[in-house]
Amino acid sequence: MQRMSKVLLLLAALLVAWMSPCPRASASEVASTRSFVSTYRKVSTAVVGLSCRRGGKDYYFGTGTIIDPRGLVITSTTVVPKGARHLKVFLRGGVIAAGEVVLTESQKELVLLRVKQLEKRTEYPYVKLGNSDDVRLGDPAFTLGNAFQSIEVDDQVSLGKGLVSGLYNLNATSSQSKYAGPAIETSAHLNSGMDGGPLLDRDGAVLGILCLNYSRNRWLGTAIPINELKSLVLPHLGWFDDRTESASVYVGLELEEVEGDDGLMVRIARVGEPSPASLAQLGAGERITRVKGARLESLGGFRTAFAATRPGETLRLEVVKKGEPRQVEILVWGRY
């Protein structure tokens, strides 16, 4: 029998936060206006207007959402298409910044871009990503955005209030949208210029990215569920604080220290889903023998090796599964 020995407990905040159920909306809450004002104040500073040109003539505009303190903006390919130039980001207070595309994923209609730093060490207001798997029909929902260029023209973010009014699959594409797949429908208004913007829950977390596709049975606004995009977004998220030399990153491994035949060893107890670890096909029960090339003998060793790892970096591990060693590379995600 193996005897398990003592180890320290780090943290499970993220996992718990993702798994904890949200409180449901009471029916009368639908009619109350109390919560809307505070939600708007909290999140509207992180909602930006976007515009760009393509091929000299075509002018595109829409909405984006800042999702980390370093100015990472999530939006849609209907706002920033491939080959876009002169990308402008309209921040609160009438500030216009340039933007730089980080990632374009046409199938999921996803674009990530960074606001080019206006000055060094600017921290941007940002909105957190929610959990769209936990969304239930009838939950309150908000749309925010650059409706008819309201941000660009008047520095005003338009707010729409409604419900999660449907959860279904969009089987065909329509309008300029290339997205087909699971969708969150909302009774909150979605007007021209709001595509690429956020669908938010009552706590102001992003449930989805507003999309131009719709069902002809409904003629209502839809959003691409944020969980559909997370595996693409999370590797780019996060920040590294130059002042404290510390990062906030996530790999999704829950480890345990057990005493084996040849001394202490570190074993995977659980793997978060989705996580960098699950994407790297790691599973519970596998033993981790090396981290960044160095032999691993204790959990403390893992922590030391993992410290100062930045989001987007690759972490090399050697794992042993049923006596078979293999090399694994994990792309580390950031978190806030």
Partner: protein, 352 residues
């Protein structure tokens, strides 16, 4: 000694991760004084009797107007009936299903009703009401059906401003949809329907409008290309009220159709004077109800069914609140004389 398991959660490495307040919130919300219920609990209960209807057609009813010009495709897209299921209301274990007549209009080949349980059955049209845009279907099966059906709201207690939810089962029969709104008017379509600002669209037609208690207030109707001027999701939507539905269901169950509204006709013309006492008659149509009852030119109609008339428009509105073949009472002033007559309202003659 019990082996101890110590787990390290290497979910992070850095230092400063604060434990997020992931305060476990209970699933039930603090009871509210108005409605001790969550939206999803309400939907789960109500959703049991909201059904989907799949209709196979040979031919659809025509579009309400000719669509030409540059935006023709867009317009056609908007007004053409979309593919996919429509919504209906399962009334009882006998398999009666109520829906908007628009949903089953056209030359229909076959219909299937998909219950909330996912079971689907063939169904047949029993009767329809053009007046209220209602169709009654019946599921054809020997299987016993689930015990489900709406709890009806009392239409007399319906108030403007009351909160409503509009439910549907389209485009996906397995999943409900819900839009929210208020009662915008309680007595539309001659007092037979309510108006709501809840977003109503093709997927809502034939579905329920329920109040905060989950009671059936009305059935969404007149959604679709039969009433293009109201549009989809326009904030002006209509639902045939519970009282109307309850009143016409016995007739529909007996297989009797109800025709479109026939405006009743008295047969007088008058001045549209904005003020004054009574409605002055300027012309009496030959052979009309008014002529037969002896109404003459220059008579002033003072009362209609005991209601004092303000002017001619008032009279007109009161006539339209009646039915064809209804006997009414008029108090008429002719010079110094006051007469009482009781004409029977008829249909408008052709050519008028």
């Amino acid at each position: 000694m019990r082996p101890q398991t110590w787990k390290a959660l290497a979910l992070l490495a850095g230092s400063l991760l604060l434990a997020q307040a992931s305060a476990k919130t209970s699933d039930s919300v603090v009871p509210d004084s108005v409605v001790p219920e969550t939206v999803d609990a309400l939907l789960e209960r109500v959703g049991q009797w909201v059904v989907a209807i799949e209709v196979e057609r040979n031919e659809d009813i025509p579009l309400p107007f000719q669509i030409r010009g540059a935006s023709a495709n867009q317009l056609r897209n908007y007004f053409k009936r979309p593919a996919g299921p429509a919504t209906g209301i399962l009334l009882d274990r006998e398999g009666y299903v109520m829906t908007s007549f628009y949903n089953v209009a056209g030359t229909v080949q076959s219909m299937r009703v998909i219950l909330s349980t996912g079971n689907s059955f063939p169904a047949k049209l029993i009767a329809k009401s053009f007046r209220d845009d209602v169709a009654l279907l019946r599921i054809e099966t020997n299987e016993s059906l689930p015990e489900a059906g709406p709890i009806w709201a009392d239409s007399s207690k319906s108030q403007t401003g009351q909160i409503l939810f509009a439910l549907g089962r389209s485009p996906d029969p397995d999943r409900l949809t819900v839009t929210e709104g208020i009662v915008s008017a309680t007595r539309r379509n001659g007092g037979r329907a309510i108006q709501t600002d809840a977003k109503l669209n093709y997927g809502n037609a034939g579905g329920p409008l329920v109040n905060l208690e989950g009671r059936l207030v009305a059935m969404a109707s007149r959604v679709g290309h039969t009433q293009p001027q109201w549009g989809l999701n326009s904030g002006v939507g209509f639902g045939t009220s519970a009282a109307t539905l309850l009143a016409i269901l016995p007739q529909l169950k007996a297989g009797k159709d109800i025709g479109p509204f026939r405006p009743p006709f008295l047969g007088v013309r008058g001045n549209r004077n904005p003020s004054g006492k009574g409605a002055q008659v300027r012309q009496v149509i030959e052979g009309s109800a008014a002529a037969q009852a002896g109404v003459r030119v220059d008579d002033v109609i003072r009362e209609f069914n005991g209601i004092e008339l303000y002017n001619f428009d008032h009279l007109r509105r009161l006539i339209f609140s009646c039915e064809v073949n209804e006997k009414i009472r008029l108090k008429i002033q002719r010079g110094d004389q006051v007469l009482e007559v009781a004409p029977i309202l008829r249909v408008i003659p052709r050519g008028l």
